[in-house]
């Protein structure tokens, strides 16, 4: 009852507030009639009209007061005052356009950076993954080692066993991560188009909770051996490749020369690559037929959906019991059994590694905002000197201290709101850029946008900022003694010393904050340069790769090594003959792109009894090593005469040789690897190559087998050239088409792009932190300039007297510069200590760089000093040019 009453009263007040004019008119009419009635009655009681009127007015009391009181009682007095403050602020800021512009710009940058970073953090860390009940999804993989994907994946039999024997999962699915960027070829629609696809186990989309946008998901008869070929299209491939034609669903398309039914189109919200393979693009999804994959070894990564109420710990405990019991291949139990399972929530798998980086980014923008606040506080304090009289006047006219503080806070709030609007624009632009920056290998980046949460965050940031930079100056200004202020001419040499010490403290803290930012950015930059400096084992510059299609089907329907050898030899020979191409060769898996690993054993080792090392395997043609710019340490490269009929051969890297035959000559030894019935002999040793990551541990054993003796999975033609790859594209494509008319219209990828892609997260963070540090430095410089210039203006008279008494220009300049250096020195000291204390936060993000890296700290000190000197020199020069006579005469 009382609640409804209160609501009703509030509603009445709001209504009255909105109908201000008519209600005022009505009240006036009512009060007029009141007076007339009173006069009538007084006249009736025998007064003369004059007296009757006077008496009525006396009894009525103050008309204006009555009006005000009634307004307060009926409307929203708080909003009325706010409106007044608002209009007053608009007038004030319009008079100070320069100040308002600078303040809004600074605030806009600070708030924009904050909102942009918040949007990224929100998408990657705070928001659930874009799947239904995503908190129940878990990622299961083998323990991460240095042998690439083969070590973290599971065999088809293991996946099936887990599906049948677990108790904690509602559904278990898997996908095959051994896909390439253009594994599939879409034909029959003009030029053959290269298409990227990923094989997924039949229940993949059901497990994730993804509904098709059009059509249906895979049917059971499409996910079994010799089933009907079917494919699901990603939304964007459907738009791009089929112009969004709804009729395509249910039709057959020619995929890898096989008629395949388009079962459906996935929704735009389903973004496989942003969750599972950041920085790539996936066009189609095909069923992974487990029956076909039983002999392929470890090929699948598991994603599970836990039953409601099951915790990740329970699921992990169960997996720990189950997985050691799974066979590598049930039809060959003698090959052994025993997997390990690392289970983590899918969200953790996707963004867990980035948590620290994002926290650092968030801290960096937080620092920026603090610097912005400090800077604005400083600006406002400088303005306060000019406005003391204004507020003393208002005070004298009856404005209470609370009212003045409120007025000043309204000003801060309006500034920061305008800044927030600008900031939102900046953040929107940044997120729009990120949404299309597909080459950055960060998950979920495509989903980053300024959403409701970001808007809320903006509002919060704006209010906090306003409070932070507004409160101190507000109380300072309103606390002045009226009498003093009205008398104070504001130009004394000693007046306002205390005032200036507050500003100096603000500048010192600003410099200290900028210090922390600069050190962070410097350390990350040094790490990035160190990463770029890593010896990759190949030369990424001047080399490019293109996906090649070839046909190696022999007359018996099996793949024929002899036919493949002849085709590849023709391709390499003809491409190498193109002018401008120095070296050419083919591999099936490029480093930093995709990988596989096989067991590697020295002669006499039994991999079932003892643990054999895993080697990353590439199947290559002669010329590949030279095309990649790899270093051949010993022996020779493959030759085209190492054919199907000749003895099997292998090239190993130094790590493999060291592990198998430490201290011995490896050439001519037998290494058990690959499909040859008679194990291959080592004919060469190459330097170690960074295969799975640029900055991780080095990759361990690596083996290269000739494409004429082992079966490659696809083919990437690598060329080394002085020319830009685009220039060559046409002639290379023409050559490839003369050999295989069905060659799809693939594009060159430079090897540098592969490296860039691998280091793109680090580049991204360095760039952002660097930008923030530059912003911090600029703001700090502005702050120094502001304080020093203001001090010079205040001391014009004093400086004039000094000069009149014989102080030289140099002396005056020195005095001002000395003051600058004192501020900077203090700021540097505080900042260095703070940087050392916060160094631990980014310790884990550094590569080959100490947290206390001397070069970084020195660089930071030199840079800040230089900037401070410039910022301080401008006012110092002005001070030295003061004309003593003019200075003394003024005021």
């Amino acid at each position: 009852m009382t609640g409804i009453d209160a609501l009703w009263r509030t509603w009445n007040r709001v209504r009255a507030f909105l109908q201000r004019e008519p209600l005022d008119c009505e009240l006036d009419a009512e009060m007029a009639s009141h007076l007339e009635i009173a006069i009538d009655e007084n006249v009736r009681r025998g007064m003369v009209p004059e007296e009757a009127r006077r008496q009525a007015l006396v009894e009525f009391g103050g008309v204006q007061q009555a009006r005000e009181k009634q307004r307060v009682a009926r409307g929203l007095p708080f909003l009325d005052v706010l409106g007044q403050d608002f209009r007053y602020t608009l007038r004030t800021l319009r008079r100070n356009r320069g100040f308002a512009t600078v303040a809004v710009l600074i605030l806009g940058l600070g708030i924009g950076a904050n909102v942009a970073v918040f949007s990224v953090v929100n998408t990657l860390l705070l928001r659930p993954l874009p799947f239904s009940h995503s908190q129940r999804l878990v990622w299961i993989q083998g323990p991460p080692q240095s042998c690439g994907l083969s070590c973290v994946t599971y065999s088809a039999d293991a996946v099936e066993d887990y599906q049948h024997r677990n108790q904690t999962m509602e559904s278990v699915t898997a996908y095959m991560p051994f896909y390439g960027p253009a594994d599939y070829k879409l034909t029959g629609r003009g030029e053959p188009v290269p298409v990227s696809g990923v094989p997924v186990v039949g229940n993949f989309f059901e497990t994730l909770g993804v509904q098709p946008f059009l059509g249906r998901l895979f049917r059971p008869d499409e996910t079994v051996k010799n089933g009907r070929p079917a494919v699901l299209l990603s939304f964007f491939f459907w738009k791009r490749g089929f112009h969004g034609d709804r009729g395509i669903v249910g039709q057959a398309i020619e995929l890898n020369n096989k008629l395949t039914v388009v079962a459906g189109v996935l929704p735009p919200s389903f973004d496989f690559e942003s969750v599972f393979a950041p920085g790539t693009k996936m066009d189609i999804f095909v069923p992974a037929i487990l029956d076909d994959m039983r002999n392929w070894g470890n090929t699948l990564l598991i994603v599970g959906r836990m039953k409601p109420g099951v915790t990740a710990a329970q699921a992990q405990a169960e997996a720990k019991v189950l997985f050691p019991d799974f066979y590598f291949n049930k039809s060959h139990p003698n090959w052994g059994k025993g997997y390990e399972a690392w289970l983590q929530p899918l969200q953790e798998h996707v963004s867990g590694k980035l948590r620290r980086s994002l926290e650092v980014l968030w801290c960096a923008v937080g620092l920026i905002l603090l610097i912005v606040c400090v800077n604005l506080s400083n600006l406002l304090l400088a303005r306060s000197a000019a406005r003391t009289k204004e507020f003393a006047m208002r005070n004298a006219l009856g404005a209470g201290r609370g009212r003045i503080v409120r007025q000043l806070l309204t000003e801060s709030l309006m500034l920061s709101c305008a800044g927030a609007v600008l900031g939102l624009g900046i953040a929107w632009a940044v997120t729009a850029y990120l949404e299309h920056a597909g080459e950055i290998a960060l998950p979920l980046l495509q989903n980053v946008r300024v959403d409701g949460a970001a808007l809320g965050w903006t509002a919060l940031v704006a209010v906090i900022t306003a409070a932070l930079f507004g409160i101190a100056p507000a109380f300072r200004m309103s606390g002045k003694n009226i009498q003093e202020s009205l008398k104070d001419s504001g130009h004394g040499a000693t007046a306002g010393r205390k005032h200036e010490s507050v500003r100096a403290a603000l500048v010192v803290s600003e410099i200290a904050l900028a210090c922390v930012l600069l050190v962070g950015a410097g350390l990350l930059l040094r790490s990035f340069l160190k990463v770029l400096d890593i010896d990759l084992g190949f030369q990424p510059d001047r080399a490019a790769a293109i996906t090649v299609n070839y046909d190696d089907q022999g007359s018996n329907g099996q793949r024929s090594a002899a036919k493949r050898g002849a085709t590849l030899e023709e391709i390499v020979r003809k491409v190498k003959a193109i002018p401008g191409i120095e070296e050419a060769g083919v591999t099936d898996m490029l480093p930093l792109d995709r990988n596989r690993s096989w067991n590697l054993a020295a002669e006499g080792m039994d991999c079932i009894k003892q643990k054999c090392p895993d080697a990353l395997v590439q199947i290559v043609t002669p010329g590949y090593l030279a095309a990649m710019g790899m270093k051949l340490r010993e022996g020779r490269d493959f030759s085209w005469s190492d054919g199907a009929a000749s003895p099997c051969v292998v090239i190993l890297n130094e790590a493999a040789v060291k592990q198998l035959w430490p201290g011995q000559d490896p050439l001519g030894r037998v290494a058990n690897i690959g499909p040859c019935s008679k194990p291959p002999r080592v004919i060469g040793v190459v330097g170690d190559v960074r295969d799975t990551s640029v900055e991780g541990d080095s990759d361990g054993p690596e083996a290269y087998l000739p494409a004429t003796q082992a079966q490659p999975e696809g083919a990437e033609l690598v060329v080394r050239t002085q020319l830009p790859p685009d220039v060559l594209a046409a002639s290379v494509m023409r050559t490839l088409r003369t050999i295989n008319p069905g060659q799809s219209a693939a594009e060159f990828r430079t090897i540098r792009q592969l490296v860039d892609h691998a280091v793109s997260p680090r580049r991204f963070f360095v760039l952002l932190v660097g930008i923030f540090a530059a912003m911090g430095l600029t703001l700090a410089a502005l702050g120094i300039y502001g304080v020093i210039a203001y001090a010079v203006t205040r001391q014009t008279q004093e400086i004039g007297i000094r000069m009149a008494l014989g102080a030289s220009r140099a002396r005056v300049q020195l005095r001002v510069m000395g003051r600058t250096l004192r501020l900077v020195g203090l700021g540097l000291a505080v900042g260095t200590v703070a940087s050392l204390m916060t160094g631990r936060l980014i310790g884990s993000l550094l590569f080959g760089t100490q947290q206390t890296d001397a070069a970084t700290y020195t660089g930071m000190v030199v840079l800040l000093m230089l900037v401070a000197l410039v910022a301080g020199y401008l006012p110092a020069r002005r001070a030295s040019r003061i004309d003593p006579m003019a200075a003394l005469r003024s005021n």
């Binding site: 009703w8 007040r13 009639s33 009141h34 009635i37 009894e59 009391g61 007061q65 009634q70 009682a73």
Partner: protein, 117 residues
């Protein structure tokens, strides 16, 4: 003592207005103010203008309602009348005041005990 008038306690004016309207029927602002002055024997300090803040407050609470009409001597004026909810409220508040004033009377009637001094 007789020179200075009584300052009104918070909320008492509202009660007086309600009682006046309940007893006299619809009244305009001047009428209400006059009645209160007369009934109090001119002991209440009342700037007649201040009554309008009270009137709008009571209106918002739904205890009185207002309508423009014509006064006895043919002037247009806004007439206030008490609502059903207003009467209920009046009963409650009046009872409260009576209890309070009775209590105050008894408390103030306590005699100082001679032995204390």
């Amino acid at each position: 003592m007789t020179d200075s008038k009584l300052d009104l306690l918070q909320g008492t004016l509202d009660l007086m207005v309600l009682q006046t309207l309940a007893a006299m029927g619809a009244q305009h602002g001047y009428g209400i103010a006059r009645r209160i002055e007369q009934a109090s024997g001119n002991e209440v300090l009342l700037n007649q203008g201040t009554i309008y803040a009270g009137l709008v407050r009571l209106q918002h609470r739904g205890w009185i309602e207002a309508e423009w009409g014509t006064s006895d001597n043919n002037r247009r004026a806004k007439f206030y009348s008490i609502t059903r909810r207003g009467r209920k409220q009046l009963a409650k508040d009046a009872a409260y005041w009576q209890r309070l004033s009775a209590v105050m009377g008894r408390v103030l009637a306590i005699e100082p005990e001679g032995s204390e001094r």
